[in-house]
Amino acid sequence: MAKRTGIEVSIAVSEAVKLANTDVIAAYPITPQTHIVEHLAELVAQGELNAEYIPVESEHSAMSACLGSSAAGARTFTATAGQGLELMHEVVYVASSMRLPIVMAVANRALSGPLSVWGDHSDVMSVRDTGWIQIFVENGQEAVDNTICAFRMAEDSRVLLPVMVHLDGFHLSHMVEPIMMPDQKEVDEFLPPFNYPLPLDPSKPVTMGAFAPPIVFTEAKWAQEMNLEQSKDVILEVWKKFGDKFGRYYNPVECYRCDDCETLIMTMGSFSETAMMAIDKLREEGKKIGLFRIRLWRPFPFEEVRETVKNAKAIIVLDRAISLGMGGPVASELRNALYPLEKRPKIMGFVGGLGGRDITPTDFEKIIKRGLEIAAAGSNREFEIYGVRE
């Protein structure tokens, strides 16, 4: 029977990887991902998870080993964060372009320099374009459920793409939360065994990773783009089936009290729970304000986002990363998504919560207030950084 337990989110994610009966884990430790890979090493060492654990010598090798084990037809998991994701960057692209359904948890972390082990979304933004399915979770339950869903999405023969599950470093990875841990039997029923169509196998030789001259490359990228776009149907299907079985339903965009409102806040990751507290307070004061957050970051849920904001006049975006010289990456993607609309809401971008800086409900209230001021006054500033100490 599934049971609710108080458990650290990182540990819960590793337990989900165990429930998925993963065959190979290749990982290199980095804060704040360490508890995930340490616990997996422990599970393998205790014989509780029948997997090969490769303690590689770098993240570049972690993802490279994942390419190999996945291509051999083994269910494969890794986890990383921050600098680790940067070091494996080159290989991250190869996983998706070779259609290897690896699942990776990313405990989101700031990027050097200055050195910071704390959380923000800088690492995520550097892998936006890598062709992976990417899911942002908000709490421990979502992290567990989506780790399990990730394997099913990735390995579906219509998809065969790697999936990243993003969870905020420390703010989520190190929280102890009450989580319903699914039962092994239920997971086995939900997640079919991995059956890679053309694994590396001498009984049926394949050439993988041939190089593309200009006459083929564009078509290869087109096929990859189609593949990623079309994966959305399967993602929705998997979430639906998961909901039907486990009673917890997920969707690409999550809304909180946004039905009747003209002002919306947009976030990604665990800060939305804090934002909800601010929303509740402002609602009590009679302000019509709601929140939405993007759960499915790639493929980008254009339709769902447009549907969500159709009545909004102003959207205030909190980005936990900065694209230096440009602004908040999520805000700019939102502008891109909404530009084709005839009635376009104003978009106010804020960058905050960098390198582990907390954003409290009061901060959210201040951000909203400032956002509305800017919306009323009109501004040609692309974004503001929130909370800079002078």
């Binding site: 390419l67 001498p202 083929v216």
Partner: protein
């Protein structure tokens, strides 16, 4: 093992690839593949041999083959080996007899991929690593590597008024591999094909990591005639510049003894990459070769 069974006639590196005329790296790959047999999975690093053999939609590989990047073949091989182990143990597919073979050039192996190779050897994966050593980054236009011999001119160690060409001595990777205490390390050259075949066979049979480094003369990069790569290779061995030996469970053995060593000048003069060297440079190289050879003989004695 009888000599007849070592080399099969079956070709597994299919003709039609795009290697330059007279390429002894392609020759070495072809010989190696004959010995590897069909029950292997090859992991190729980026480099000449990957590029000449795998232009979409063609392939020269009749066995399962994967290329991903330049510096990660050992790590990919680690993953495959672990994957095969897990699948076998869990009863999904019995892959227990399949050997994983990683291949790379000297640039891939001695330079950019050294960390991954060291990691894979240290962890003890059951795989055979073969380095095709043509002593420079040939695929990108003959740039120096740490395997380029002292004095050779390359496009990034050009000889000139203020430069001798390659300014450092060749990195001794077989010694580094042996220092990982792996069961089998060897050097070879396609000019000694029987020796090469025996070594590949041994590398295949060893349980655990094996490292074989094969001198692969490259007429394009070495600036030598396209019809004598095999002779050049033999000459490298005969003058002691590329000794052919093996280290089995830590024990050194010289397999081809060229004594008395031919003078290095005979080897150097046949190649454009050494043409600029003065007698004093050649003497310096000769001294180093004498020293290294004496050292190797010492090791083989113990």
């Amino acid at each position: 093992m009888s000599k007849q069974t070592v080399v099969e006639t079956k070709e597994r590196f299919a003709p039609g690839h795009r290697a330059c005329i007279g390429c002894a790296e392609a020759l070495a790959v072809r010989m190696v593949c004959k010995v590897l047999g069909d029950n292997v999975i090859i992991v190729n690093a980026t480099g000449c041999m990957e590029i000449v053999s795998s232009q979409m939609p063609f392939t020269s590989w009749t066995v399962p083959w994967i290329h991903t990047l330049f510096e990660n073949n050992s790590a990919v091989a680690s993953g495959i080996e672990a994957g095969l182990k897990a699948l076998t143990r869990k009863g999904v597919r019995d892959m227990s007899s399949t050997k994983v073979v990683a291949m790379g050039g000297d640039g891939s192996t001695l330079d950019i991929g050294l960390q991954a190779l060291s990691g894979a050897m240290e962890r003890g994966h059951n795989f055979l690593y073969i380095c095709f050593d043509n002593e420079a980054y040939m695929n990108t236009g003959i740039q120096r590597s740490s395997s380029t011999p002292y004095g050779a001119t390359t496009t990034t160690s050009p000889a000139g008024k203020a430069s001798i060409g390659q300014f450092s001595w060749k990195k001794n990777l077989p010694a580094i591999a042996a220092a990982h205490n792996i069961p089998y390390v060897a050097t070879a050259c396609p000019s000694y094909h029987r020796d090469l075949a025996m070594k590949v066979k041994k590398g295949m049979e060893v349980k655990g990591p094996a490292y074989i480094q094969i001198l692969s003369p490259c007429p394009t990069g070495w600036r030598c005639p396209t019809d004598n790569a095999v002779e050049v290779g033999r000459s490298a061995v005969q003058c002691g510049m590329y000794p052919i030996y093996e280290v089995e469970n830590g024990k050194y053995k010289i397999n081809v003894s060229p004594e008395p060593l031919k003078p290095v000048v005979e080897y150097l003069k046949g190649q454009g990459r050494f043409r600029h060297l003065a007698d004093t440079d050649i003497n310096k190289i000769q001294d180093k070769v004498n020293q290294d050879w004496a050292h190797l003989k010492e090791l083989a004695k113990i």
